[in-house]
């Protein structure tokens, strides 16, 4: 670990070094300037409590940016991870473990999450209700060591593990990404970003909240989930356009077949992108297909041009070790993958550590999922199994084998639903008489695969 020296602890970094007239956001066909943004941030910051932790639930990306900046200026870490439709467990965790936790939401988030918010009574502030008029004093610089955000991964016990992000580390990461992808002011005209990843995911947070603060980037604020949303969003912003997305979205966008407007680049992360998909983007969309390797713990660590490069180039200032990355502002951070550093400073990704699965951009350990399963009343034994194609199929899902006499698959699934992120809910839940454990209590993969062939699978009627 690199200890923070006394001098860095006193260093401050501005919220944004950008000029007031520059575009920071494209929203409803109009440009929001840095100056307008800062006025809005000051208006919201004045409404926030003196101390606390902000749960940022904003669905509109501009609202999410205003909420993050206002909390940061007041010294409140933003808790990243709650997402529409699955926010209840996250909100309960925030209420239990973070002093003065409050929710920052916009109109669309409230509409999506009303039942969840009713269940967890945290104080709620409307981001879009804050006054945006008047001239705001320029925001004071922020100490480098201030915790700006806290991201979460599911730990091996099922309890989320918190990863604190000091402001200095986030700024260094944004600067490195801007240099790598040509997004600095000196690199050319400003870049508009359309992203299919939520701002509450670490990858989406870095690319769509940190980059517009620290690089010559304007984000598209509106919906960008379905293919039609993405095409419409890209058409609504001027070049240079950058699409920030995932293999899951790319697969659907490519299969749908519509060609987007000219793109300066496409960036993918959260799961390995196949060479075929990378080539298809380069060929069909005539855009460089870039891939980021990163993790919630370390943030973005490296990138490659996936159609032509197998190895990864670490971000400027970042160094990799066989199972860890040394990241500016964070020090040495263990990773969930085995890496092989190469002589030229690049590295090869050797694969995930066996226990980890990644689905829908989220990572969990199978041990944690099994722990949650065994915590369900009536479940005597059980195991989650990832399909063989979990690395290559962006839409892959888990199977669970469960020993629970007297319970139905639907009952177990219903109880799991409140305890797991939906991405990890088993698509198949097979009720079996016993798991094929070996004398050591371990579950050989081959024996589990044999279960598939031999057992009548639970849940529904015969498989197709």
């Amino acid at each position: 670990m690199l200890p923070a020296s006394a001098t860095t602890a006193l260093t401050t970094l501005a919220l944004t070094g950008r000029a007031p007239g520059e575009a920071i956001c494209h929203r409803d066909g109009r440009v929001v300037t840095v100056g307008q943004f800062l006025a809005q941030v000051a208006g919201l910051a004045a409404l926030l409590p003196d101390t606390g932790h902000a749960v940022n639930l904003c669905a509109d990306r501009y609202a999410a940016l205003v909420a993050f900046a206002a909390a940061l200026l007041r010294g409140h870490p933003t808790l990243l991870g709650a997402q529409p439709g699955a926010a209840a467990p996250f909100l309960r965790m925030a209420a239990a473990h973070y002093a003065g936790a409050y929710v920052l939401a916009d109109a669309s988030a409230l509409e999506l999450m009303r039942p969840e918010l009713a269940e967890v009574p945290l104080p709620l502030l409307r981001v879009d209700a804050a006054p945006a008029d008047g001239t705001a004093p320029p925001p004071r610089p922020i100490p480098e060591g201030r915790i700006a955000a806290i991201a979460f991964t599911s730990g091996s016990t099922g309890t989320p593990t918190a990863h604190a992000k000091p402001w200095g580390a986030l700024v260094a990461g944004a600067a490195a990404a801007a240099e790598r992808f040509g997004l600095r002011a000196e690199d050319g005209p400003p870049t508009g970003i359309v992203a299919t990843v939520p701002a509450q995911h670490m990858y989406g947070f870095e690319t769509t909240l940190m980059l517009p603060l620290r690089a010559a980037v304007a984000i598209h604020a509106g919906a960008s989930f379905f293919p039609s949303d993405v095409h419409q969003a890209l058409a609504a912003i001027p070049p240079r356009r950058l699409l920030v997305t995932t293999p899951l979205h790319l697969r659907v966008l490519l299969a749908e077949g519509r060609r987007p407007p000219p793109l300066a680049g496409v960036i993918s992360a959260t799961a390995p992108l196949s060479r075929e998909m990378a080539e298809a983007v380069e060929r069909d969309w005539a855009a460089p297909m870039l891939e980021i390797y990163g993790a919630t713990e370390a943030g973005s660590v490296a990138s490659r041009r996936s159609a032509t490069e197998e190895s990864w180039l670490p971000y400027p200032g970042t160094r990799v070790l066989p199972g860890a990355a040394v990241v500016p502002g964070l020090g040495e951070v263990p990773l969930g993958d085995a890496l092989e550093p190469l002589a030229d400073g690049r590295f090869r990704l050797l694969g995930r550590l066996a226990d980890m699965v990644k689905l829908g951009g989220k990572r969990a350990s199978l041990a944690a999922l099994n722990h949650a399963l065994l915590g369900i009343p009536g479940v005597e034994d059980g195991a989650f199994v990832a399909p063989a194609d979990v690395e290559s199929n962006p839409a892959a899902r888990l199977t669970a084998y469960v020993v629970a006499p007297g319970c139905t698959a639907a009952e177990i699934l219903g109880l799991l639903r409140g305890r797991l992120d939906p991405a990890f809910l088993p698509r198949r839940l097979a009720l079996v008489a016993a798991l094929p454990r070996d004398p050591l209590g371990k579950l050989p993969l081959r024996a589990l695969a044999a279960l598939d062939r031999d057992q009548e699978l639970g849940a529904g009627p015969a498989a197709p």
Binding site: G85, S224, S228, H249, V252, R417, A423, G460, P461
Partner: protein, 98 residues
Amino acid sequence: MTTGNATTSAAEFDPALEADLARLIVGALSLEIAAEDIAPEAPLFGEGLGLDSIDALELSLAISKAYGVQLRSDDERNHRIFASLRGLAAHVARHRAR
């Protein structure tokens, strides 16, 4: 929020399309249930059938391929469209290429 049933007009109710769409959902999402076991009024997402956003994306692709209908986030009827099989069928009926 409105319920799918109360707001789906008789003209949009098409049992054949509903059955068709149920088969499409089961096939596109590799669900372990039979198409006829999807209750037309039950929620597709969260409780009920238990679909999530990854499924929503897959489903948008399958529906676009099969019916030429594009799903959009900013459709103000989204709550109804995704509320149930019946709501989705009504949306497809309204927008499919003739």
